[in-house]
Amino acid sequence: MMSHLAQTAPLAKTSQETNIKKKQGLKKLKRYLPLFLLMIPGLVYLIINNYLPLFGMVIAFKDINYSKGIFGSDWIGLKNFEFLFRSSDAFIITRNTLLYNGAFIIINTVIAVAIAIILNDIKNKFLSRFYQSVIVLPYLISMVVVGYLAFSVFSIDSGLMNKTILPMLGMKDISWYTEPQYWPYILTIVHAWNGAGFLCVIYLASIISIDPEYYEAATLDGASKWQQVRAITIPLITPVITMMTLLAIGRIFYSDFGLFYQVPMNSGALADTTNVIDTYVFRGLMVLGDIGMSSAAGVYQSIVGFVLVIVSNYIVRKVNRENALF
């Protein structure tokens, strides 16, 4: 297949080049018109869904007035940002976003790599496939349902924790949804349950592609399983781990909105420990109607997020050019 492509591609290119040379501007337009027409729906969608909101970011610098419209409202410069950064909110949501996502990246990577290494050693192909499909199942479920699952465990009056597990350990009830100190752990566990399987499948694919001869040679030399994992598996998948981690760091300013909105059940008492930039922006817009503040936080997120993507991609390029996004 590949050799066939390699043989025909240059031929096609030269014949296309001579073709193009023959045709003049108008003819060229006519020839490519159908292709341009095909692109129209997609381009229109990008304009509506992505580019208009990009220009709409100017509202962060305006005093929004619906009667004057988004673009007609009065300019107020950086006032919205001044309010945002003078409040304690800016620090709290930035801290929460970075700490949660940082912990998620580390913990999920460790769990996913560990499970992938174990899965790769399972000889029974049917069981191996069964495990894979079970561990990615939580990823398939909507966050609302995950919220319900968490509720069945943490419900104050009837949850599994308060009614079964804590009494078994001889401990008193905990009012989970009003006591913030437990939530960093709860959210980390729920996120690992929800997302580690997905990452694991990616790492498993890269472990499977390792040449089995390395392991055969190591076994002949008397290397134990653990030595093989440390000397062969881990070093050989390190580029993939580095790349996935750097890409995740590039997105560290964006959180899984559903996780932080649904799982704590929007509980006010937990706000300071579960509020991240995404939930802050959402509540500012939908609940408080404070468009100035929430749009300023949104712009802050977009700009820092953009810088982080560029920086992490720059590093990925340094590590391995092929894996870079651009």
Binding site: K13, I59, L149, L160, F198, F282
Partner: protein
């Protein structure tokens, strides 16, 4: 040696079995709780082995079958229409920019790519959709914002077109007199079924699971999808009753009789069951899709 290997296999299988159980066990807690009687939930909480079974929660949900049926209808509709539309516009944009001879190809590819790096965020998006396009409380609100197409998929499909469809094939069809559009849907698309199936599956999951657009853009119960109903009932268990057309007094007496702790679990079961039933049939493609997306 072989004995050692055998016990090693046993150990790792036991570890994996434990992990698999950890992934599945919340679902069984959910299902068992939904068929527990109110009395036994009050006594023992949500458990895997309720003392007394009861289908009252489902009985209550059954009295609201018209609202739930409607919500399911909305969910199925947006999943089918959304997925089809998404596949169409994604492939139609990806194909031209996959063609090395297209004028301004790099400009268009950049327009797609840039959306992955930078976005306006929720507030301007919300204002554009509600103030400029008046999408609030229409079926479009569930179909269009954020879900219809994403740049990542466009680039994924473009890469597939560039690497898996020999340019000579397109050239040959063109020499035979086929127009560009005909080449696209008679040659390129049929050769791209694997990537289309992957993108389509993920788009369908996205639409089926979406509650964000319902939460953000819909307040009219006419357009509530099943996920939106789940979302509403999370904080307001009486939502179905208070939202139905039953006259005042009978509604209040009904509210008093709702087996609310088990209903909360039953509605989640209603929401998640179709996915759990369908999953064995598409899990293979789902897992394959995850790795395709990861290597871009």
């Amino acid at each position: 040696m072989t004995i050692e290997n055998k016990s090693f296999q046993w150990i790792i299988n036991i570890i994996m079995m434990a992990i698999a159980i950890a992934c599945l066990i919340p679902f069984s807690l959910l299902i068992m709780s939904s068929i527990s009687s109110e009395a036994s939930i009050i006594q023992n909480g949500y458990t895997f082995f309720p003392e007394e079974f009861s289908m009252k929660a489902y009985g209550y949900l059954w009295t609201h079958w018209s609202e739930l049926g409607r919500a399911y209808g909305i969910t199925v509709f947006i999943t089918v229409v959304g997925t089809a539309a998404s596949l169409a516009i994604t492939s139609m944009l990806a194909y031209p920019i996959s063609r090395s001879d297209l004028p301004l190809k790099n400009l268009f590819a950049f327009l797609v790519f840039f959306t992955l790096l930078f976005n306006g965020g929720l507030v301007p998006t919300y204002l554009i959709y509600t103030q400029v396009f008046h999408l609030k409380n229409t079926i479009w609100a569930l179909l269009i914002p954020g879900l219809l197409m994403n740049g990542f998929n466009v680039l994924l499909v473009r890469t597939f077109f560039m690497t898996s469809i020999p340019p000579a094939l397109i050239e040959a069809a063109s020499i035979d007199g086929a127009g560009e559009i005909k080449i696209f849907y008679r040659i390129v698309l049929p050769l791209s079924l694997p990537i289309m199936a992957t993108i389509g599956l993920f788009a369908a999951i996205l639409y089926w699971n979406d509650w964000f657009n319902g939460l953000t853009y819909v307040t009219d119960s006419k357009y509530f999808s099943i996920q939106t109903i789940l979302n509403k009932m999370m904080t307001d268990i009486q939502f179905l009753t208070s939202n139905s057309n039953i006259a005042g007094s009978s509604a209040t007496s009904e509210i008093a009789e709702i087996p609310s702790t088990s209903v909360r679990m039953a509605i989640a079961v209603i929401g998640v069951l179709p996915i759990l039933i369908a999953y064995p049939f598409f899990q293979k493609y789902f897992i394959k899709g995850i790795t395709i997306g990861a290597v871009k």
